[in-house]
């Protein structure tokens, strides 16, 4: 399994995403924002951080990077794509996922260990979880409030496209406590919390996040 991990100027969690891929016995392939091809990878992770400083809007500048045009094309053909935190913001800005991420309702950056309920275990990235399982992973973001119009929310809810939901008090004002969503096909997933920081209890709260990378392994092997 070869998994591309994109680095934009300002990306921070690329090393973590690469490590998580390795923990799942995959090969992490670094991709540079200026790349015009995906080096034959089986899947792509758009990791967290502050691409281009996130100065205009989180992800607004990164989505125009050359490598993102490749990602958009590949995603449309069904390649598994995972956006974590800033990566989720970038995927939303690139219209691979609906809605937008906005400033946390309490206006502070929040770093905490967060319980999530797994609501959809049929996506390319979540098959290893039981539906309804609760996992504990870090959440660390200043603009993680998920917003979408009523029609979009209804579409997401009615079709099981909410993948993760926050358990307990809402950390950032997300509509419907949404932590992560998928596209209609189930190959593109974006979430604000950081599964790649929960792959080893030594450096994270748990290893609950590893399931996402192992799920991908299953998906790729099956394909």
């Amino acid at each position: 399994m070869r998994v591309g991990v994109i680095t934009f100027p300002g990306t921070l969690d690329d090393v973590d995403a690469q490590r998580a891929v390795r923990y799942a016995d995959g090969e992490a392939v670094p991709l540079w924002h200026g790349d015009h091809d995906l080096k034959g990878v089986d899947a792509v992770i758009v990791p967290g951080g502050f691409s281009y400083g996130d100065y205009l809007r989180c992800g607004a500048i990164a989505r125009f990077a050359p490598v993102m045009q490749e990602v958009i094309e590949a995603a449309d053909k069904g390649m598994p794509v995972l956006g974590i935190c800033n990566g989720f913001q970038i995927l939303a800005e690139a219209h691979l996922l609906p809605g937008a991420l906005t400033r946390n309702h309490k206006l502070h950056f929040v770093c905490r260990d967060q319980w999530l309920a797994v609501e959809n275990n049929t996506t390319a990235w979540t098959t290893r979880y039981d539906k309804g399982a609760e996992i504990l992973v870090p959440l660390k973001s200043g603009e993680g409030g998920y917003q979408a119009d009523e029609d979009t929310l209804k579409e997401l809810e009615d079709n099981g496209r909410v993948v993760f939901r926050y358990v307990g008090d809402n950390p950032n004002g997300s509509r419907n406590n949404i932590a992560g969503i998928t596209n209609a096909r189930g190959n593109v997933v974006g979430l604000m919390p950081h599964p790649e920081h929960a792959i080893d209890a030594l450096t994270g709260p748990t290893d609950d996040g590893l399931g996402m990378f192992l799920s991908l392994l299953d998906t790729v092997v099956k394909a």
């Binding site: 100027p9 300002g10 921070l12 969690d13 090393v15 973590d16 490590r19 967290g48 951080g49 502050f50 281009y52 400083g53 996130d54 100065y55 502070h108 950056f109 929040v110 770093c111 905490r112 870090p138 660390k140 200043g142 950081h194 790649e196 920081h197 030594l202 450096t203 994270g204």
Partner: protein, 598 residues
């Protein structure tokens, strides 16, 4: 008109605003003696900032010497760089070197809390980067006034947001710090920032410019009018009766963490390619500091062409360009054969890089502006041979009284009052949870954090293969230090040492940030002298060296000084972070609780 050396020679009697720039009469006289003429505006700007307390350590130097005097060869055995370098470096085994330092950004953070704190973090991170290390983590010892005071409500949220905003965006986990409230910090909060980084021993870079013909390259952000508050007196003189008269500028710098993040990655790639001969970060005193320190520490002279410096503002004078404290800039010395490769790496990262000069024969720092000489000085006189003061020292008259007032005079709580007392204490600002602060800091980024808030020490893994890591703690109890500065400093050291040891790491080195009131107050100087002695003697007893630090004076409101606050940082080494001992009592029922010590 630009004030050139030629002009200075021709107009020896021209009045200069040296007092407004903070220079004393005798200091100005000494500059004239060194140069054998009056300084140019640019030279005056340079000397005044480099001879300031902040840059020259003129009041503290004679005392800081004691650190060196009390450090034995054995204590020094693991030290690869110490006092006098940008940051101390210690050998932590397996070919790894670790560098760490803490610095203050107190006054700027009071003026503009967010940006002051943010640029404080940015500055210390560049110090660590300039040693050749990858910055790995930050910590932030903070002090505020009463939590319910208006000023605290203005200052605290901004400072915390600034530390977080900058550090989070750089991808540096925040692994610890302090939040302490005391009335004495009301008009003068303390923002100390610590950074730790690691490198392979052979990659250690030291700040010096050697090798005639080597090029001086300025890279990173453009230079603007940031932080040149003081020097604008020169500008207004220069522009006196023209329309260009510039209003007094605020000396506030704005940080751009994204640019710094890119600067870090770009610099690390440059180090890896082995194309940097010498390097210096630009912090306080900007180019004045970087060029004079590089030249002073090297074995030749240096020629810098100021007109080549990429600017962000129009109409900047040479003095302003030299004094600008624009953030996110570095200055490298590069062999001519490597310049092209250097510029290529910078282009890859979209970092502006400009050759602004070269190392020359001789021992002068010559700075030109459109081919006219505006600075021609012996660099050592600027950077390393500034004034040295032996300030008067006097034990405060009320010190005995203070010490005599012991807790023995306080009533003891009755047994049935104990619960209420415990609750009151647990709810008091200094003992209450600091989660409101720490949850604004990313402690997970880059996956090396093994311990962070609320652990006694932060711990970070530096080698994923072997699990080798370091632990760090900063501590200081200003009330103890006020009661007895000598013992108080020792206690701060002991506390940090214990905190590190308690995680399973072996303490190996010490850094410090000595926050005090005005050095012109003999009582403050007594506190300072005592604290330095206590810290140094404590270090000698424990057998670990002070590898660096920072002094911040003039922390006071009116004539009332803050509690003397010598923040001590201790670094420990652990050969496998998997063997760390987490904080907290009781993972399982039935464990035995032991109290060690008296």
């Amino acid at each position: 008109m630009i004030d050139t050396v030629k002009n200075a020679e021709a107009t020896p009697d021209q009045e200069q605003p040296y007092r407004e720039l903070g220079l004393k009469d005798d200091e100005y006289a000494r500059i004239k003696e060194i140069l054998k003429r009056r300084p140019t505006d640019a030279e005056l700007a340079m000397y005044s900032v480099m001879w300031s307390e902040h840059c020259s350590y003129k009041s503290s130097k004679v005392h800081l010497k004691y650190f060196g005097d009390t450090t034995t060869d054995e204590m020094r055995s693991k030290m690869l760089a110490g006092i006098g370098e940008n940051a101390g470096v210690v050998d932590v085994g397996d070919g790894w070197a670790v560098t760490f330092k803490v610095e203050s950004h107190n006054h700027p953070s009071y003026v503009e809390p967010y940006q002051g704190a943010a640029t404080g973090v940015g500055g210390i991170v560049r110090d660590i980067l300039a040693m050749g290390a990858r910055p790995l983590a930050v910590m932030d010892p903070l002090r505020f006034g009463r939590p319910d005071a208006e000023d605290t409500k203005r200052v605290l949220p901004g400072i915390v947001a600034g530390v977080g905003g900058y550090g989070n965006c750089l991808g540096l986990p925040n692994i610890g710090g302090e939040v302490v409230f005391d009335e004495s910090y009301q008009g003068n909060p303390l923002v100390n920032a610590l950074c730790v980084g690691a490198m392979r021993v052979e990659d250690l870079h030291l700040a010096h410019a050697s090798g005639t013909g080597n090029k001086v390259i300025l890279y990173g952000a453009r230079t603007g009018l940031d932080g040149i508050g003081g020097v604008s007196v020169l500008a207004s003189e220069t522009f006196d009766d023209t329309a260009g008269k510039r209003k007094k500028l605020p000396s506030v710098q704005v940080g751009d963490p994204f640019t710094e993040k890119v600067l870090i990655e770009c610099s690390l790639e440059l180090f890896e390619k082995g194309i940097v001969a010498g390097i210096q970060d630009l912090g306080g005193a900007g180019l004045s500091c970087a060029t004079s320190e590089l030249a002073s520490a090297g074995d030749g002279g240096m020629h810098v062409r100021l007109d080549r410096v990429p600017l962000r503002a129009t109409g900047m004078t040479p003095a302003e360009i030299l004094s600008s404290e624009s953030q996110e800039r570095m200055c490298a010395v590069v062999e001519p054969a490597n310049v092209e490769a250097f510029l290529e790496v910078c282009a890859k990262w979209d970092v502006i890089a400009t050759e602004i000069g070269e190392v020359t024969e001789g021992d002068r720092l010559v700075i030109t502006y459109h081919d006219e000489v505006v600075v021609d000085v012996p660099p050592r006189t600027v950077a390393h041979e500034g004034p040295v003061y032996h300030r008067p020292i006097e034990r405060p008259a009320d010190q005995d009284e203070l010490q005599a007032n012991t807790p023995d005079s306080l009533p003891r709580p009755a047994k049935d009052e104990l619960l209420a007392l415990v609750k009151t204490m647990a709810a008091s600002p200094n003992l209450a949870s600091k989660k409101w602060v720490t949850q604004q800091y990313d402690r997970y980024v880059r996956g090396g954090t093994v311990l962070a808030q609320p652990s006694d020490s932060g711990m970070i893994r530096i080698d994923e293969e072997t699990g080798r890591g370091v632990a760090l703690s900063t501590d200081c109890n200003g009330r103890y230090t006020k009661l007895d500065p000598y013992e108080g400093a020792k206690l701060a050291l002991a506390e940090a040492y214990r905190n590190v040891a308690a995680t399973g790491a072996t303490p190996v080195a010490v850094t410090n940030c000595l926050n005090f009131g005005s050095p012109e107050d003999p009582a403050v100087m007594w506190q300072f002298e005592q604290a330095v002695k206590g810290l140094a003697d404590g270090c000698a007893e424990l057998g670990i060296p002070v590898t660096g630090g920072n002094v911040s004076f003039y922390n006071q409101t009116g004539s009332t000084a803050i509690l003397p606050t010598p923040v001590v940082g201790v670094l420990g080494v652990i050969d496998d972070v998997r063997r760390r001992i987490p904080t907290g009592i009781g993972a399982e029922a039935g464990e035995t609780l032991l109290l060690l010590g008296e």
